[in-house]
Symmetry: C2
Subunit: 317 residues, 2 copies
Amino acid sequence: MADKQTEKQLDIQRAGDTGNKRPIMLAIAGDSAAGKTTLTKGLVTALGDDRISSICVDDYHRYDRTERKDLPFTPLHPDCNYLDIMEQHLKLLSEGQPILKPVYNHADGSLDRPVYVKPSEFMVVEGLFPLWSRASRACFDATVFLDPPEEIRRAWKVARDTAKRGYTEEQVLADLDKREPESTAYIRPQRAHADIVVQFSPILSRGETVEDPLSATVLMRPTIPHPDLHPVVGDDVNEAMHLKLLRDDDGKPVDALHVHSYASEEATLKAEEAIWNLMAVPEPLSDQLGMIDGQRDGPLAITQLILLFHLIQARHT
Amino acid sequence: MADKQTEKQLDIQRAGDTGNKRPIMLAIAGDSAAGKTTLTKGLVTALGDDRISSICVDDYHRYDRTERKDLPFTPLHPDCNYLDIMEQHLKLLSEGQPILKPVYNHADGSLDRPVYVKPSEFMVVEGLFPLWSRASRACFDATVFLDPPEEIRRAWKVARDTAKRGYTEEQVLADLDKREPESTAYIRPQRAHADIVVQFSPILSRGETVEDPLSATVLMRPTIPHPDLHPVVGDDVNEAMHLKLLRDDDGKPVDALHVHSYASEEATLKAEEAIWNLMAVPEPLSDQLGMIDGQRDGPLAITQLILLFHLIQARHT
């Protein structure tokens, strides 16, 4: 019986082998309104949508908004999502296969007809759960966790959900409180599995507040090969950024790249060029990095550049 | 680069290996209104929905009814369907994996939210395209093509589509004419890939018409091991059925089991028992075979029994 089963499986495999090329896949995980879409947009614009596409894996909701009303958990609970199907779809995409992806309509909370997604040369996968399991993590070439201070994330969530998703400020704040235990239990633990942790926040030691332009801290864990920034973080660019060896909250060593919001545009552009030249690839450096609401943001640009570096490097090695 | 790709693929495979048990899968292919659902229902009732489930693969429509109005093809055209996703889902089910299956709403022609389907011990997959490609066929343990005379299929389609899908008789007849070239090009060629071809039709040589109860012809191709019916088609059951060696339309040898509509219920029941006993399995013979609109139909019962035989035999070998 075992032989018969194995034979059948081999037959299925042979018949289905289409020799598709595997895309380079980047995960951007983080809680609701942590800035995932903003970070993703710059990467897609920089490489162009003929080479890179992004999907949001928050569409794997098991219930629509009406059904969820009577249920004891929020969308942050694994049982509220088809995470097994999300894992399956990530695996298929990582093998170069198309998927029929479910669609959650954020505007009215309904589940719509699914959409056909064919993997591009590069895929960004953003959402609440991309680093959830060993099976999902194995699909990625590099993984990012967005980790803004809660104060900032709450402000971002109120601004977005009242403007775009039809909620009142009171509803969003109540929802944040309701989600807090599930954020702690299911979303934040994914930070431990990221190769790169990004935090946009004010530099408190300089007296900055959340109202000021935000600086970025990019923690680079030695779980994948990062760009060697030592040659570029000399005197020329130290207005824009500096590199520091730290212990992360979990005690493990990390390289922390601090990108200063107070640097001039000239200084951050010089730093970007220096990082880009490390790669020696034919592609020119994009001038579309760091755009947010039509304005250029230096720390965002350099963060996106680090991620772009990983995508392009993975293609060339 | 090749090594890096291979290593990554192995990593993905290892992380995703869940050791699921493969279901036994039966395909029932055929044109619209060929009787696929009726044949399927008896199998599901006989084995019980805790052991067997069925899916219809006509849900993989690329366009809804409104979008199709401006398109130059009918749902019988491969380009009107996500057949690559159908193949992918069949492969996943055949490996014991769940799928998120698209849903086409036949009542209003819209594409609805997808449904989660977990494979049962036995799966019946019915529809227009299950035998479409080598990749789809490889997923099945046995394959059936339903091949009623066109006159009968047209009458069935008019009866169903006017009663259940909101069309007028004129619309259905016009639709049948429009679909004819695509039936010829894409649906009927699948007959060549079936292990079993089933035809319900009147026995013209006995002067029967389409108004009479229909006899069944079950062509069993030597592509899979069929029940050896020689010991049972003796004098005891020859009122109910007889076996004949034929050349099929394509010139290849087949065993043709003719099941007579004129046989008494007693005679078909005796034949059913004789076939069932060939298997020597612990399951009792179901008394739910052959039911159609609350009435028992002998030729349908024996046809379903042959398929049941294949399902259960595949599980026990």
